[in-house]
Homo-oligomer: 443 residues x 2
């Protein structure tokens, strides 16, 4: 299986590109990426994925293999294929920083480019921003639910493929997750790795105790999995092991992966504490999501960390976003689509976030270049196809995201739907433009 990055697109992008080429339509278009609605159980989305988008735009080329394949389809002229050979993305991009909470109708990014260029890149941009924003938004909820306890990404095995697994680990880090089990993500992004042992390791040994001893001797600081047979009996074996090993015993934690995690954590804590093993922490896993984490934390269970897998890794309660990339301006003229339920606001925009005493009050969606109250969230990040400046480091994005989240009204940080959605006003001038353009269009 081979594939050229430039072909990671929908076929119609290429047929439209050829049409624009033949029609000599190369005026500047503005495309705006935004979500129409929040998923039912999200009060905000955490923007993520810009870095990959900019890398893609900077490096987008049709290589020989891609051109050969396109020629074989019989849909493209030689003249157009020669044009593709020279294709570069030459446009500008305005975007909110990764880690910024955003709301419906607010542009996550805007592409300003010759129309064919802006069109071709639609598929990649939607794909990456949706995936990473969806996953960061889910993870932010899990991290909030854990109230400072450690959250580890265990998702790789059931995330949709390996590329998604890598992107997920990065998005989770931005959202505040502490470590990942994904070794490739550790390598790619310098993330902290975490891992314990599997049931199979315990089962492969004649005796659970032998498995614990072998692992504890090899790794010192490690976490032992205690639910393969009888959880509390296994915790008692660890107490015995501590006595046997003496000062060499440096096991840092146990992992509970099934059963009633609240009840078992209390019982395990008691056994450990009675043996003077206060410093052995308790780590919980097994089909966890933010609701379950909140329930365990709310019960006051002595759980020090959570391994969260599939539910976070596929954003199970919201595995897609209503995210779209819309033409809002062409050749200086605002564009509107009028399909039922799919109307859009015309023209380039800016998001102004109004904050008071460190808390976001409301946003105003205004025209690009207009002056409204508040902090302008869309900033230029690419000019003529080149990044304007290196983006923040991944750790800085994480710190920035945390600060932005902390400015949201508390009701939005709750796991339940906020009683009132966050207020996003449309500025007077943008509203006026919309009416004018619509009138012109319908005239």
């Amino acid at each position: 299986m081979t594939s050229s990055p430039a072909l990671l697109t929908d076929f119609y992008q290429l047929t439209m590109l050829q049409a624009y080429f033949e029609e000599q339509m190369r005026d500047t278009a503005v495309f705006s990426l935004f979500v129409r609605r929040l998923p039912e159980r999200r009060n905000y989305l955490l923007a993520c994925g810009l870095d990959d988008v900019l890398t893609y735009l900077e490096t987008l080329r049709f290589d020989d293999e891609a051109l050969r394949y396109l020629r074989s389809l019989g849909r493209f002229s030689d003249r157009f294929l020669e044009h593709l050979e020279q294709f570069r993305f030459t446009g500008d991009v305005y975007a909110v920083a990764e880690g910024t909470p955003i709301f419906p109708h607010e542009p996550i990014l805007e592409v300003v480019a010759p129309i064919g260029e802006g069109q071709l890149v639609e598929t990649f941009i939607i794909n990456q921003i949706q995936l990473q924003t969806m996953l960061a938004s889910k993870a932010a909820r899990v991290v909030d639910a854990a109230q400072g306890r450690r959250v580890v990404d265990f998702g790789l095995r059931r995330i949709h493929g390996f590329e998604a697994g890598l992107k997920a680990a990065r998005a989770f880090h931005i959202a505040g997750v502490h470590a990942t089990s994904n070794v490739a993500a550790g390598q790619a992004y310098g993330l902290e790795l975490s891992g314990t042992m599997a049931h199979s390791y315990v089962q492969a040994h004649e005796d659970e105790y032998d498995a614990f001893r072998a692992f504890a001797q090899l790794y010192g600081d490690t976490v032992l999995l205690v639910d393969t047979y009888d959880t509390i009996a296994a915790v008692r074996k660890i107490v015995t092991l501590a006595k046997e090993m003496g000062p060499a015993f440096r096991v840092s934690g146990i992992r509970l992966d099934s059963g009633d995690l609240v009840e078992l954590s209390f019982a395990a804590r008691r056994v450990l504490d009675e043996a003077g093993l206060q410093r052995v922490t308790i780590f919980a896993s097994g089909s966890l999501n933010e609701g379950e984490v909140a329930r365990i934390v709310g019960a006051g269970a002595p759980v020090d960390g959570f391994g969260v897998g599939t539910e976070m890794g596929v954003s199970r309660d919201a595995p897609s976003l209503e995210i779209i990339y819309k033409l809002v301006e062409y050749a200086g003229q605002g564009r509107l689509k009028l399909s039922p339920g799919k109307a859009t606001l015309p023209g380039r925009k800016q998001i102004f976030r109004v904050e008071r005493e460190g808390q976001a009050q409301y946003d105003t969606l205004g025209r690009h270049g207009a002056h409204e109250a508040g902090r302008a969230l869309l900033q230029p990040v690419m000019k003529n196809g080149r990044r304007l400046a290196p983006l923040m480091s991944l750790d800085d994005v994480r710190v920035y995201a945390r600060a932005q989240l902390d400015r949201l009204p508390p009701a939005l940080r709750a796991l339940d739907p906020a009683p009132e959605p966050y207020l996003v006003n449309v500025s007077d001038s943008l509203a006026r433009v919309r009416v004018e353009w619509r009138r012109a269009l319908e005239a």
Copy 2:
């Protein structure tokens, strides 16, 4: 971002691998991959993903970069890292063919290998088989709902990443989907490409009519998108265009992407037929899933094909499977896990499918090597780390899958949950073994 394929795994696989190395545990283990339960709205799963698994197993190597990274973690001995440098997967694999319908507790594949090798590959195997099986299973429902009408994969933009987009297009093809919009998948797998035009193309033109004419002149055989402004008015413009272009008019279809698709398809059909444009087909898209497709087909709507995107691409109603990879035997001894709700059957297995008059009656889950009535579904596909034979071509897999699906009881092919699940018996000898091993374990 770089990452070595061998590191596409969970960290604990590597720490366990080192432990097995240090403990000199290298006896043969059997790992079995299966689902515990079907998702609520699935009556069967269509196995998919084996080809990528075998390629991975054949080519799995730790390259210098991977070894350097692992060394940097300070968890692995030089001796172990030297061992990793020589690491090859040397095991055997038994699997059901891609395109085989399977049921809970039936092994999709079994890996027979030195325990460390079998353990390391868990993450990749689960990841790929879950993704591709989940997507093939969803697509089979959509194809059935369309009752012979064309189904086109429009999912790429909202599938979880590009790797998943490629794998999805392949899985969809196996499940009977006719074409994809994903150009890279067309290139990688030789799939038929399909695409129409976007709303933005229509909007970029001063006039919808100009957009239609430009596209129809350039492409001849093409599909025009009619819902940007007023759907039926747009269909009338196409009638006018047909008159204007005369014999040069070869538009093959129109696409409806919003509104009441049943009502609009009837109205559009009427307008086209009255103009003598019977050969212009109607293609529907817009948030479709198998239920919506069935509704449109059931209403007798004159829709000739469906573009299905996000719902199929993320398997929205079942975005993950309860799929697990369990140690069932080590050093010739069956292994059992007793955690609440997570019990497994020990030992190597075989699935026997009993068919009568071309219809599957029930399956028997038996011991490997036993003789039971029915067709044995698990076949050797890899021996000592090498594929035994090239797998079927992708098109042959598609034909095979269709034939297998056609043998399922009709109630299982319905979109609603079957009144009775498909019967999977446990053979007497397997049941006996389970009791014996459990008794031995608890003794």
